[in-house]
Symmetry: C2
Subunit: 406 residues, 2 copies
C-alpha cells in the first residue's frame, strides 16, 4: 500500500506552483510556474534515488534500476502542465502517483526485475502549443523533434524559445529512453465512475481527436448604417458554425463530442460588424467511422453557411489522432490489480487524450482512472478524494509490480 | 465655391496620422495618433485666424469672429478620431470641411454677421470609451463631465488619464463655448445616395441607439470528456443570442439593425468548453416604439436561451439615445443650399449616430451627407470621391452663410 498522506501532501505542495485564488492551477507548459514544478519534481526524483534526464523537448525521465538491466523499463507517469484555468489533479495525480510508487518500493526495499521509469511529459494539455500530448507524439515518431520545436504559441514564442527560457531543453535526444510499456494513472475527467460508485476505471480505449484551425473572413462595416441583408458578419457566421457543430455531435448521441474553445474577433469594436474571426474546433469519437462522419458533416455544414452568408471560411485540420485501443494484456493486469486490492471497477473509454494513447501506438500501454467530482475537469473546481487517489496509485503500483516482476 | 484640391490635400495629409497599410486610419480617441492630428488641426485653425480653445474633455473649438458678436456662433465640424480599422473620411470630412469653409471665407474676404465656430469633438466613435459621441453628450448635459472623465477603456485607462497623457485636457469647462446651432457634414456610411445617384443627403432624422454590456457565465469543462447534454457552454449560448438578435432586427425589415461587435472568451483554450464570455450589443431604429420592441424581444429571447442552457446571462443597458428629428428650418436651409448649387439631393435618415444628434437636443441642428463607395464605413476600405466631398463642403458653406448672414 502506498502512503496516502505523502501522496496527498505532494499533490497539495506542488499545487502552489501556479495556484489560483479559486483553488485551481494555472501552469501553462514551459512557463515559469512549469519550471518551478519541474525543479521540484527533479529534486524529488533524485531524492528517491532515480537517475534523472531531460530530453530535447523537456520531458523528464527518472530511472529506477531493476535487477535485469537488459529488460526495458516499465514507464509510468503523466504530465505536470495545466490548462489556463485548470485543476490540481489532471496529469499531476499520474506523475506524483508514479513518484509515490517509487517512494513506496524504496521504503519497502522492493527491487523489481525490470527497471521502472517515471516520466513527466512536456505539453500534454495543448493549450499553449498544439497539438496536445506533443512530446509523447514526438517520442513515438508522429512528429519530428524539429517540427515540434518550431510550434508557436499565440504570442509567437516557439517551443524551442520557451524551453530555453526556463532552461529545460535537455541534452538527451527525444526517444533516448527506451520503454517496454507505459501505464498512466489519471482522474477520469468525466462523470461515469462517480455516477456508478466505482473506484477504478480500467481504461480499454480512448476517443480519437480532430483539431482544426479556422478563419472566417467577412466584411467589417458600420453597425448602425449597414442594412441587415447587406451584412457579411463573421460573428453571425461563427454562431451558425458553433450550433451546427453542436447539432452534428449530438446526432451521434453519446458517441461524439464537438467544441469550439477559442474564437477571437480581429479589431473588435462595439459599432463595427465583425469582419474577421480566428477560431479552433475540437471533435472527438472513439469510433473512427464516426470521426470521418464528423469531419464530413462539419465541412459540408460550414460550406453551406459560408456560401449562404457570402463569407469565406477556411478550415485546416491541424491534428488527427485516431481512436486508441489499449493493450489487452495490460488492461487485464490493471483489472486484476483492482480486483486483488478489492476495489470496485469497470471498463471505460477515455474521453480525453493522454500520453498513454500516443505510447500505445508503439508499445503496450494502459491506464487507470479514478473518479473526479461531478466529472469536472479543465476547471479550477476540479476535485478528487484522497482515498480515490490513493486507490488509483495502489492499482498503478500493483500493475507495475506484476509487469516488472518482483 | 470651396477649394476642392485644398480640402482633398488636408484629408490626405492628416490620413498619415494613424494611416494603415490598407489605406485606412487607426486613430483611436486620445491616442498618440489622435494627438498628432489634434496638433495639426490646432495649428491649421490658428493659421486660418481662429481663436482656438480646448475644453475639459479635449474638444477643440476654433472661433471666427462675426460682425455682431452678440449673436451666438454657428457651429460646424465633426470629429477626427476613428475606429480601430477605420477610414479616411468618417468625421474627418466634416471637420476638415468646416476648416475649408473658414479658409474659403478668408480668401474671399467674406465677413459674416454671426460668428462661426469650428469644432472637433472628442471620442465620437465610442470604440475606446463608451458611449459614442461622448463629448457632445456632456456638452448638452446628458452626462456630467466627471462621469465622462471616469469612463475606462479595456485596459482600465480613464478618459481623464488619456487626456493628460496626450496633453489635451483643456482649461475651459465643458459648455464654455455657446453655440446658436450646429451643422455637420459627413459621409453617408450607407448605400442609399450612391444607389440613387444623389450627391447630397439632406439628413432629416437619425436612428436611436441602444448599447448593452453583456456577460455569460456558463461552466468551463473538458472538451473531450464532457458529454454534450451536460454542457453549459458560454459560446453556444452567445451563438444563439447573436442569431436571435439578427432575427429580431430582421423582423422589423429596414427599420432596425442589431449587431454584436465584441465578444471575448475568458481564458480560452482549444480543449476547454468556454465558461465565460463578455460581449456588447448595439441595436438601432429611427422609431422609438421599435426601439422598445427590440429591447423587449431581445431580453425575452436571452432569458429563454439562458434558462434552457442553464447558463447565467447578464445584460446592462449602458446607453440609450432616442431617435433624432433635426430642425425643420435648418433642414430646409441645407436643402435650399443643395438646390441653389445645382446638386441632386434627397431627404435621408442617418443610420449612424453623430454629434449633431446630441446638439439637436438643445439647439437647432442639421446634417449634410455625401455618398461613400458601396456604403462602406468603419472599414479601412471606406472611400468617397473628391467631387462629392467638395460638393458637401459647398453645401455646408452655403448653409452656414444663409444662417450666419453675410
Ligand atoms: N487529459 C487531458 O486533459 N488532456 C488534454 C488533451 C485533450 O484531451 O484535450
Ligand atoms: N458616425 C459614426 O460612425 N459614429 C459612430 C457612432 C455610432 O453611430 O456608432
Amino acid at each position: 500500500q502506498i502512503d496516502s498522506a505523502r501522496l496527498w501532501g505532494s499533490i497539495h505542495e506542488t499545487a502552489q506552483f501556479g495556484g489560483t485564488a479559486k483553488g485551481g492551477v494555472r501552469r501553462l507548459t514551459l512557463s515559469s510556474e512549469d519550471k518551478q514544478v519541474r525543479d521540484w519534481f527533479r529534486k524529488a526524483c533524485e531524492d528517491a534515488g532515480l537517475e534523472v534526464h531531460t530530453d530535447a523537448l523537456g520531458s523528464q525521465f527518472g530511472l529506477r534500476k531493476g535487477r535485469d538491466m537488459s529488460k526495458l523499463p516499465v514507464g509510468i507517469g503523466s504530465h505536470l502542465d495545466t490548462q489556463p484555468t485548470g485543476g490540481k489533479y489532471d496529469g499531476i495525480l499520474g506523475t506524483l502517483g508514479a513518484l509515490e510508487v517509487i517512494r513506496t518500493l524504496n521504503d519497502a526495499g522492493i527491487e523489481t526485475e525490470a527497471p521502472i521509469c517515471v516520466v513527466n511529459w512536456t505539453n500534454e494539455e495543448g493549450s499553449r502549443f498544439a497539438p496536445a500530448m506533443m512530446a509523447s507524439a514526438a517520442y513515438v515518431g508522429d512528429f519530428t523533434t524539429d517540427d515540434i520545436l518550431s510550434r508557436k504559441d499565440i504570442d509567437g514564442t516557439t517551443v524551442s524559445q520557451a524551453l530555453d527560457s526556463i532552461g529545460y531543453r535537455g541534452d538527451k535526444p527525444v526517444g533516448f529512453q527506451k520503454l517496454g510499456c507505459f501505464v498512466e494513472l489519471h482522474i477520469e475527467q468525466g462523470p461515469i465512475l462517480e455516477a456508478e460508485s466505482k473506484t477504478i476505471g480500467v481504461v480499454d480505449s480512448g476517443q480519437g481527436v480532430l483539431w482544426y484551425d479556422g478563419k472566417i473572413s467577412g466584411f467589417e462595416s458600420h453597425a448602425g448604417s449597414t442594412p441587415m441583408p447587406l451584412r457579411r458578419d463573421a460573428l453571425a457566421t461563427l454562431s451558425e458554425i458553433v450550433l451546427a457543430m453542436e447539432a452534428i455531435a449530438k446526432k451521434h448521441g453519446p458517441k461524439a463530442v464537438g467544441t469550439i474553445g477559442e474564437a477571437v474577433i480581429a479589431n473588435p469594436s462595439r459599432n463595427v460588424i465583425p469582419g474577421e474571426i480566428a477560431f479552433t474546433m475540437d471533435c472527438r469519437s472513439a469510433d473512427g467511422a464516426i470521426m470521418d462522419a464528423l469531419d464530413r458533416d462539419l465541412r459540408a455544414a460550414i460550406a453551406e453557411i459560408a456560401a449562404r452568408r457570402k463569407v469565406e471560411v477556411k478550415i485546416d485540420l491541424v491534428w488527427r489522432k485516431p481512436p486508441t485501443h489499449f493493450d489487452p494484456k495490460l488492461i487485464a493486469a490493471v483489472e486484476n490489480a483492482a480486483k486483488t486490492l478489492g476495489y470496485s471497477s469497470r471498463r471505460i473509454t477515455s474521453g480525453a487524450g493522454h500520453d498513454a494513447c500516443n505510447l500505445n501506438t508503439v508499445m503496450p500501454a494502459a491506464m487507470v482512472f479514478v473518479p473526479c467530482k461531478d466529472g469536472i475537469s479543465h476547471n479550477e473546481l476540479e476535485d478528487a478524494t484522497q482515498p480515490d487517489c490513493a486507490a488509483g496509485t495502489n492499482v498503478l503500483m500493483h500493475t507495475v509490480l506484476a509487469i516488472a516482476g518482483v
